[in-house]
Subunit: 425 residues, 2 copies
Amino acid sequence: MNPVEVILAKRRGEEHAHDDLEAFVLGFVGGEIPDYQVAAWLMAVCWRGMSERETADLTRIMAASGDQLDLAALPHTLDKHSTGGVGDKTTIVLAPLVASLGGTIAKMSGRGLGHTGGTIDKLESIPGFRATLSESEFLRQARDIGVAVTGQSGELAPADGLLYALRDATATVASVPLIASSVMSKKLASGARSLVLDVKVGHGAFMKSEEEARALAGAMVAIGRHAGRNVRAVLSNMDEPLGNAVGHAVEVIEALATLRGDGPPDVRALVLVLATEVLQASGLDLDEGDVAAALADGRAAERFERWIAAQGGDVSALDALEVAPNTSVWRATSSGELLALDAERVGLAVARLGGGRRRKGDAIDLAVGAHVHVKVGDHVSAGDALVTLLHRGGSAVEDALLALEGAARIGSSEVRRPLVLDVVR
Amino acid sequence: MNPVEVILAKRRGEEHAHDDLEAFVLGFVGGEIPDYQVAAWLMAVCWRGMSERETADLTRIMAASGDQLDLAALPHTLDKHSTGGVGDKTTIVLAPLVASLGGTIAKMSGRGLGHTGGTIDKLESIPGFRATLSESEFLRQARDIGVAVTGQSGELAPADGLLYALRDATATVASVPLIASSVMSKKLASGARSLVLDVKVGHGAFMKSEEEARALAGAMVAIGRHAGRNVRAVLSNMDEPLGNAVGHAVEVIEALATLRGDGPPDVRALVLVLATEVLQASGLDLDEGDVAAALADGRAAERFERWIAAQGGDVSALDALEVAPNTSVWRATSSGELLALDAERVGLAVARLGGGRRRKGDAIDLAVGAHVHVKVGDHVSAGDALVTLLHRGGSAVEDALLALEGAARIGSSEVRRPLVLDVVR
């Protein structure tokens, strides 16, 4: 394998043989192929694309570049991944819910960066919750109660980490096969047989158009097919934050309400679709009614408490999580129907209150957040409260309110996207 | 200027503002912008291209990245550049010819690499010839006799040298704006007001098709227009070596014959077109008849001897240059019309005899070479001598004959390309 010939082949739009691609990627990981050659190749991939087979090969090569979890001894292993949304607490609801219905969810989860929060950070707002489990603790807990969530290990798909850093510095992030293989490499390495992907569409999402989201969903489902995993993708709306709470503790509180059969309608509806799809993909003969019953009759909430307790969390504190004491209200300046509420700006406002990281490793305030009072389709009048910020005072509040400026689109009714746009199987 | 934004803009097919392009290129030269970012950008340029204005800006930025020769005090300064051919001794004829007609040619010239020879190497087959002149010697000689040729300085357009090395390692050499700006940056830095480009087309040339050659010629002429230089480009045929001699001493001998009004018809014809075009471009009111007269009446040959003597060459040795003593003949294996003689293979055969470099700095044998006995259109019979190799014996001869295998295409007549395909002004 000559690296220049690999780059040239992709430049010409040719398909790489598996072994050439493997030697190229592992040569980069091993330091034998310099980053400038990989950077040129990445841009050629953005230009020419990759076939389904090539994308699946790249994904498996990256997945095999580090540790791979073996979950074969566990029943109905499944996983869920979101491309990143604001106010998205679905994992916190879905994980105990599917466990209560016979699924096993042994999940690696990330921390937040920029305007979106991470599941692990949110769970840490519960006193005592331990986000880092050893591999044996993790597997034992998954076997015993069907649910375990741990912070991502540095050894999972290290090739993806190296490639992603290079993509970030070379304007080669936006590429369907590169995004799809990056997401799926970590999912393949983490071992679950079935996977549901929540591909967010809208202004607050990485994929701004339904067309792009559909292409990404199709690519990820195809990778699953090539790799012998059952993958389904749900395209969901991110024209507004999901639910009403945005932050860390406030999102756990909303997730808990949903687990108890209550919670905002959109959170509940999305959880039901995602959970039903992934349970069916894992071979369990359940419909949405069965899944809703587990929320209604307390099984999901009971499994949540067992899970939190297993990871050291203080269950007795769940109904008294610390929330920042001060409030500032952001109000409508005109009247009409709410057409969209820019989720990215709401996420940014919370980040500016101290609830978001600029760089990996930054400390964050889990008690700050926002409550969104209006949903798309609601009628609002000038002066109505749209968002209440929960904060600790100081100059950050002004910055957060500035971030919200222009975030609400208020006007007269037009065709709106539904919450769930499509399911790709 | 944010380098990621520059890459992203080119990825999207946008045109760079001059200042962004300058900051990006000079940032790379200065070591502040890493090579991987430049590599991604180069591939994006291969993908999206560059506008005429952008290409001209890039060329001037590279030309200004190092020393620039000031030839403003000299009359009718002109230069000639070839994209690289086999058997191409036109510079050796053209330089004293244009000087004898009032032009000033103060030329930087390269050494050979791979299958093509360099003018400087060829001239060194004349005993005593000095290829390296100081800047003041060079300028004085150009003023006194109108012709000076020196080896290329390392300080001419260093940005081009750095970019070229990166392109070579990242499969981004083949790009019309990048090739055009690379050639023209060195030409702009070396100061001549007028320039004729000999763009070779055919199997032995960098540009395999007339379409590619025409695009490159157009791009280089446009750069000249933007930079206030008079540039013309001649598209010439490289479906066979130029003339009959391929090597170093043998090519000087053939150039001398042409300077004395003799020489192969194709060498003479190409020199007349190139010289006439560049003399006219430099503002001299001369036609091809005037140029031919300087070959016929001895003015060109006389200027050649003055030039060689000025650079230390032994003029009395010109008719007794050392040529390798042994010969091996390569013969036709079928009969018919010669349709093409692969110039690249003939060049490679001479290189294998010791007449070419694999790497910069390799020593070469100036006395070895080849005599081509047939030209495209000639009728040949099986057993006829096609090429005679001039060598010093040893195993290299077998290797050289192997290089020639399959080089001659013999068949029945088809439409052939003329020597001069077009002139782009």
